[in-house]
């Protein structure tokens, strides 16, 4: 091979960049997010009614879209009631509905969001529930 010094150096840089995730996390323990739904408000509900606004299968991937629709519904249409797919209605509010049940933001919303590296900017304005540091 000609100019092998330079070419091998280049290839080493390439391999180091491409395989970066493989060695970067070695030795670090990355816990899967364990969300807790043991808040007082949820505990108050009877066992069979411990459900979210929509089904878990819908909420898990789709809660941000639901929140976006809620926001549009209130801010644009002034409509503050949400009728879910089972016909139950909820007051549309991030702070007073979602966060009333999920008052453990640190052990719920933040668990997933930190794991995924998302930082919703909602809390720049909306007030997060008061929690004890855990």
């Amino acid at each position: 091979m000609y100019d092998s010094g330079k070419i091998i150096a280049g290839l080493l840089i390439f391999v180091a960049l491409v395989t970066f995730p493989f060695y970067f996390n070695v030795g670090k323990v990355i816990a899967k997010p364990e969300t807790k739904i043991d808040t007082p408000e949820i505990q108050k509900l009877p066992e069979h009614e411990r459900k979210c606004v929509e089904s878990k299968e819908f909420m898990r991937p789709g809660h941000m879209q639901l929140l976006n629709n809620w926001r549009d519904s209130v801010v644009r249409n002034g409509d503050r009631i949400y009728l879910n797919s089972t016909g139950k209605d909820f007051d549309i509010s991030l702070q007073n509905t979602c966060m009333k049940c999920h008052s453990n933001k640190k052990n719920f919303c933040d668990k997933c969001h930190n794991y995924m590296g998302v930082k919703p900017y909602c809390w720049d304005c909306h007030i997060a529930p008061k929690e004890n540091e855990t």
Binding site: M1, Y2, L11, F14, P21, N25, R71, C112, M116, G117
Partner: protein, 336 residues
């Protein structure tokens, strides 16, 4: 024909993975979620290295940079140190401009035969602009994806992400690069369709990567903004793959969502196809002798490495052999 062939190849790939993933069979999902990505990555890495080593084996004995500036000459003639570099530093600057800003593409011209008939040349920056927009968006998107592969996402990635979404449109926030890459790839495709000269020289090998990348971008955009998937499951799978510990997340493959497998499979195809394709220009740009050599032909003697020793018979030796006969014939000789 070439367009349709490439297009339907990508459609076929999408249908294939769609059919596989909708079965929800855990072995099929394991194939698309674990085995194919590993195989594709290995092909990419080894194939890339193989291609570069193959290139490295071709000798480049002489300096053949394509230059467009005054070369180094007398001290009172101003040299263009970047366009016609004579030092390694100059080459590095020239390469950096090429790699980061596509400097040579900036000189792209269009040629037209006008009434007269007159041949006219005009500047044509659209290809340069779309190429730049495409490559930079792709790079930023790639870097953003590192959040799926790193346990504690570093702040650089958060910074890039927040700059990319600073318009704060919708939830999830719209990324500017998502829109830019779709527009740029569409432009790069339409250009091949509508410019007759470019159309004439375009091959299936040009259209296929474009459709493939378009497919990847569209499936990604659909997944982020429209057809939601279980993203936490995706990250668990990604972390499992890179820590070679894929059995645990493999239990939850059914929960993720079909569109994710389409996205992942198209990416796997892109990775596996990479070393065999024109996409190798990613490595090739660094090995282009017309770019990466300094123009020092007039300062340094470059010896062809495959020169073998040629047996020469000099005049002195010739005269030595035939001196007597030459003298006898009355020919002048140099040495008596």
């Amino acid at each position: 024909m070439k367009i349709l062939f490439s297009f339907f190849t990508v459609v076929f790939l999408v249908l294939l993975v769609f059919a596989g993933a909708t079965t929800g069979n855990k072995y099929v999902l394991f194939l698309f979620g674990v085995i194919i990505p590993y195989a594709a990555f290995a092909t990419f890495l080894l194939g890339f290295i193989y291609r570069v080593v193959q290139w490295g084996r071709s000798p480049v004995p002489f300096r053949i940079p394509t230059t467009c500036g005054q070369q180094q000459s007398f001290p009172w003639i101003k040299q263009n140190k970047i366009e016609n570099p004579s030092t390694t530093m100059g080459v590095i600057v020239r390469m950096a401009l090429e790699v980061f800003l596509f400097r040579s593409l900036f000189r792209n011209l269009k040629t037209e035969l006008r009434d007269g008939p007159k041949l006219s040349y005009g500047s044509d920056k659209w290809l340069w602009l779309a190429g730049l927009a495409f490559h930079w968006s792709f790079l930023i998107i790639l870097i953003r994806h590192y959040r799926f592969f790193i346990g504690e996402v570093p702040s650089v990635i958060h910074l890039i992400e927040s700059l990319d979404s600073f318009l704060q449109v919708g939830v999830p926030l719209v990324y500017i690069t998502d829109a830019v890459i779709l527009a740029a790839v569409t432009f790069l495709f339409l250009r091949r369709v509508y410019i007759p000269q470019v159309n004439y020289i375009s091959l299936a090998a040009d259209y296929f990567p474009l459709f493939l990348i378009l497919g990847i971008a569209i499936s990604g955009v659909l997944m982020r903004y429209f057809i939601k998937v279980h993203i936490v499951g995706v990250k668990e799978l990604a972390m499992g793959l890179i820590s070679l510990n894929f059995m645990a997340p493999a239990k939850n493959l059914q929960e993720i969502g079909v569109i994710f497998y389409i996205h992942l499979f198209l990416i796997s195809v892109l990775f596996a196809y990479f070393p065999f394709s024109k996409l190798m220009h990613m490595g090739g740009v660094f090995l282009s002798p017309t770019r990466n050599l300094s123009n020092n032909s007039r300062m340094v003697r470059h010896i062809n490495p495959w020169n073998y020793p040629v047996h020469v018979h000099t005049y002195e030796e010739y005269e030595e052999d035939f001196r007597d006969k030459m003298k006898a014939a009355g020919l002048p000789v140099e040495k008596e």
